[in-house]
Amino acid sequence: MKLGVRDGRLEVWLFIVQRLTAMVLGPLVIVHLATMIYAIQGGLSAVEIMGRTQGSLVWGLVYGLFVTAAAFHGAIGLRQIAREALQWRGMTVNVAALIFCLGILCLGYQAVWALV
């Protein structure tokens, strides 16, 4: 399918991706917050965190999915804010949003890789 900026199908797909990633992020944020509250009960140390996450495929998948959803969701949202608040339009804002998305993906996956 040809995605055109002018005919708006790009907007439709970005809307769909943002809603779907929001649906993914909702429960993951709850899991993340609940884990944080549980984890700090006996104090917080890197050793304790690493002890829980290292070698854990489940935590790797959870946070890998979290990073993926957050990168796309945040980049699409920032793109929209830039378009409306700064009147930044055209291909350059799309490229900037893509770079932001790739940056979050790289940093996020690096952090997940270090944890597991």
Binding site: V5, R6, D7, G8, E11, F15, E84
Partner: protein, 250 residues
């Protein structure tokens, strides 16, 4: 005991202070007038009084005076309203009223705006009825209880006054945005079983400045004088466009 003499409307001693926007598309400022307050007086009555008695150069637009045509919409104390259906008593604040032209449309002069940008967007959203076929020999059977007809009927009473368009912050941020009225019209057609091009209507509003630009602030619904809910119509369009995109029909 004799009947009390009915008080003449013009015998009121109370005076309203009215700030009226005077100017054109380039420049302007509020000008203050003193107008006698009367019983059952509308904001349109106030503007008319100023034009007839105080300053004949004041420009404004009205027609029916009874809330049918929508042409007298202006910004009253910061909110877009039909001035013919706005009683002074319900909008006056400390004896003062501010009347300005509708937002988001270029001012022609004083309180009269150029609404062509608003109506052009009805054209851009391709909100014309498309017959299913050329044969009109039989009446179309429309089930009034169907989900689609109820959705269409909920939005059908728009008279195109532009109040929702003036209330919309997204229009202010993105001047290309089609706006609540045009999108509401598209929603009524998408749900009209007699219309033959639902996907065409969806394609027209699934644009850079179409239904997905709406932030669901609901200013349109809050200010619509006929109590329509364009936000709900736009949300419906988003769902329909979503489904059409997933099916590859966009």
């Amino acid at each position: 005991m004799s009947e009390p003499e009915p008080q003449s409307e013009t015998q009121s001693n109370r005076m309203l202070t009215v700030d009226i926007w005077r100017g054109d598309a380039e420049d302007g400022a509020f000008q203050t007038y003193e107008v006698p307050q009367m019983e059952s007086q509308t904001v349109l009555d106030v503007v008319t009084y100023i034009q007839r008695k105080l300053d004949p150069s004041l420009s404004y637009r009205f027609s029916c005076r009874v809330g049918m045509c929508g042409s007298c919409a202006m910004t009253v104390n910061g909110k877009p309203r039909w001035t013919c259906r706005s009683h002074v008593d319900s909008v006056v604040e400390n004896g003062r009223i501010q009347v300005a032209p509708l937002r988001n449309m270029p001012v022609i002069k004083d309180l009269a705006t150029d609404m062509s940008v608003f109506f052009d967007k009805w054209q851009k959203s391709k909100s014309q009825f498309v017959p299913t076929d050329g044969d009109a020999s039989e009446f179309a059977v429309v089930d009034p209880t169907s989900k689609e007809r109820k959705a269409a009927s909920a939005g059908i009473e728009c008279i195109g006054c532009g109040v929702c368009y003036a209330a919309c912050d997204v229009v202010e941020w993105n001047p290309d945005y089609l706006g609540p009225a045009a999108l509401n019209r598209a929603w009524t057609l998408v749900n009209d079983s007699r219309d033959g091009d639902a996907e065409g209507h969806l394609r027209a509003v699934a644009t850079d400045a179409g239904c997905h630009a709406c932030h669901s602030h609901q200013s349109c619904a809050r200010n619509c004088p006929t109590s329509l809910n364009p936000t709900a119509s736009i949300a419906g369009l988003k769902r329909k466009v979503f489904a059409a995109a997933l099916k590859g029909r966009l």
